[in-house]
């Protein structure tokens, strides 16, 4: 079975994630887009693992998942603190620091 379609799918998912980070305003949605990028990477890792015929990529995917989970904890803590202070999760509102 050819692995190329899976790589193309992962590239599409990664691009959707990256564009989402750049264009969306809500911090939570931006964060979900980052997770999409990480999951697209997982798909690529697993596909290459099959193409290369070794398990390194699959193991790496587990590590990426664990790291992503840790990132969720830290990220949601920061976003929630900001939301409680400002009553808004928009990344455009956080603009005290500039230039």
């Amino acid at each position: 079975m050819s692995t190329t379609p899976f790589i193309i799918l992962s590239a599409i998912l990664f691009t959707i994630g990256a564009v989402g980070v750049l264009t969306r305003r809500n911090a939570l949605v931006v964060f979900m887009c980052v997770e999409l990028m990480l999951n697209a990477s997982n798909l690529a890792l697993i596909t290459f693992s099959r193409a290369n015929g070794n398990l390194d990529g699959q193991i790496a995917a587990f590590f990426v998942m664990v790291v992503a989970a840790a990132e969720v904890v830290v990220g949601l803590a920061i976003i929630m603190t900001i939301f409680r202070t400002r009553r808004s999760a928009s990344v455009d509102d956080a603009s005290l620091l500039k230039y």
């Binding site: 990028m37 990477s41 290459f48 790496a60 920061i78 603190t81 990344v91």
Partner: protein, 529 residues
């Protein structure tokens, strides 16, 4: 299927393990020790842990003896996941020294009148009754010490990582605690929280690129080990597109951490918004770890593809120096100015990084690029840490005063502090007889001998521009009259004072007698694979 347990070299990895153990113990201390005693316990635990790790690192270093007949230039540990060679161990010692100074800054209590510079209760909203109560009760977050220890353990793993997966995990272990630490300032909490949000969002975005680059390089080489990647690069078997794409995306992740153009947008905001002790620690130690990792990844794994990545780094180095120096000219806030200056320094470090050439081209006695970059990052780290420590002692009733205009006449009121700050700034500007001069000379010489002349010319021009804004601060401090509501220097405890003293002494000593350190680096700056 038979499973064989991996062999772990606990003795070689002891510095990382000690720091991690202290971090975990610190979390337990938060749960088990009464609030009144936590500060003392946490501070002493962190200090003891770092000193023990430093001793352990020096012991490992003594086992690497390149002068003996049979050179043993390093060890591969933990099933080849970590490479312990000269550059790694040098980075370890440097990071641990910076962490030791960092703990001293974190533990400073006299400046805020008996509490640390961190939020009394991070969950209490700014400007509410709960926050006033928390500060009236003298609460403080002692969790910052374990958080810092976790970050330090990631920083120790980062330059040692010998495969892409370890590199990624180390990157996250060092970043996640720093995101949190940035948001914990006691004063100006909105700025601090905003800095944490920006750092986190952009950091997560860049690590997304890093993981995808990871996947692409794995697809190219069929392995994540650096030596296998180097083999695949030299045999040129895989798809070129995967290699170039992967290399570029990995570079995004690492260049974000060092704050190079065009990934520097977070640097000024985070440096300004974060609590000053965190800024000091982060500015110094993260750069050491990130440059250690950058050197290993691009010299060991991608050394064979040098002609592919060097042009990209030429442009990035030039852009970083120009953006950092030019934008620093118009800054009116001291912390922000130092942030832009750190961007410019990242550019100078990248200039040294461009000194990459094959080992046969390096004549004996020539500076090798690893030596130059590690020397520069040492001088920069110690100088910067002391500079931010000085920023934290210039205060008025509302906390630190960072507007440059209000520093006018500080030299007349507190000649010692202003004089030290002026000396550190001259060090950053690279005036002869300071460490900055030797550092700049080393990186420029290394880049020039690899033929990166255009970059060196830009670097020299940008050092001149940078000297202008450093001198501007000195002129404000010494040659303008004090304004009415100017800040005064709060006398810190011995902890902050000793950080400043160490930084000033290092800036002076490494400027006057750089020889021993350069020689040490010359002997040890050899990667193993």
């Amino acid at each position: 299927m038979k499973f064989t347990a991996p062999h772990i070299e606990y003795d070689l990895l002891s510095p990382i393990l000690i720091v991690l153990a202290v971090a975990v113990l610190g979390v337990l201390v938060e749960a088990a020790v009464p609030r009144a005693r936590r500060y003392v316990v946490q501070v002493s635990l962190s200090l003891v842990g770092i000193v023990a790790a430093l001793v352990a690192a020096l012991l490992v270093m003594s086992r690497i003896n390149p002068t003996s007949d049979k050179p043993k230039s390093g060890y591969l540990a933990a099933v080849d996941a970590l490479a312990l060679d000269g550059p790694t161990l040098f980075c370890w010692v440097l990071i641990l020294v910076l962490a030791l100074l960092g703990v001293l800054l974190f533990a400073e209590r006299r400046l805020e009148g008996g509490v640390t510079a961190f939020a009394g209760q991070a969950s209490a909203l700014p400007g509410t009754e709960a926050e006033r109560q928390a500060s009236a009760m003298g609460l403080e977050h002692t969790e910052v010490f374990p958080l810092m220890m976790f970050a330090v353990s990631g920083m120790l793993m980062f330059p040692a990582a010998n495969d892409l997966l370890t590199l990624f995990v180390a990157l996250e272990v060092l970043s996640l605690p720093l995101y949190l630490l940035c948001g914990l300032a006691r004063r100006r909490r909105l700025l601090s929280q905003e800095a944490a949000l920006k750092y986190f969002m952009l950091g997560a975005f860049s690590s997304g690129f890093f993981v995808y680059g990871n996947a692409l390089v794995y697809g190219y080489a069929g392995s994540m080990q650096f030596d296998n990647i180097a083999f695949a690069v030299s045999s040129g078997s895989g798809s070129e597109a995967l290699l170039l794409g992967g290399m570029g995306m990995l570079a995004v992740g690492l260049l974000f951490k060092v704050g190079a153009a065009p990934f520097l947008a977070w640097t000024p905001d985070v440096y300004q918004g974060a609590p000053t002790p965190v800024t000091a620690f982060m500015a110094a130690a993260t750069k050491v770890a990130a440059f250690g990792a950058l050197l290993r990844l691009f010299y060991v794994a991608f050394g064979g593809a040098r002609w592919d990545w060097q042009p990209m780094f030429w442009i990035i180095a030039i852009a970083t120096m120009v953006v950092g120096s030019v934008l620093a000219l118009s800054q009116t806030d001291v912390k922000r100015l130092l942030a832009y200056s750190s961007v410019a320094h990242a550019g100078f470090l990248l200039t040294g990084f461009l000194g990459a050439r094959s080992l046969t081209d390096i004549a004996p006695g020539d500076l090798n690029p690893v030596q130059a970059v590690l020397f520069y990052v040492t001088t920069y780290g110690l100088t910067t840490m002391a500079a931010f420590a000085i920023v934290s002692v210039v205060r008025d009733g509302a906390g630190e005063v960072t507007q440059l205009s209000r520093w006018a006449g500080l030299g007349k009121e507190s000649p010692l502090v202003a004089g030290s700050f002026a000396f550190l700034l001259l060090g950053m500007a690279g005036i002869p007889l300071t460490s900055g001069f030797t550092g700049k000379w080393a990186v420029f010489a290394s880049a020039a001998s690899a033929g990166a002349w255009p970059v060196v010319i830009v670097a020299v021009l940008m050092s001149a521009i940078a000297a202008y804004f450093y001198v501007k601060i000195i002129v404000v401090m010494f040659f303008s009259d004090p304004i009415g509501d100017g800040p005064s220097v709060t006398v810190p405890s011995v902890m902050t004072s000793s950080v400043i003293a160490v930084g000033v002494a290092a800036t002076f000593v490494l400027g006057v007698v750089p020889g021993p350190l350069l020689d040490l680096l010359g002997r040890t700056a050899q990667f193993i694979r």
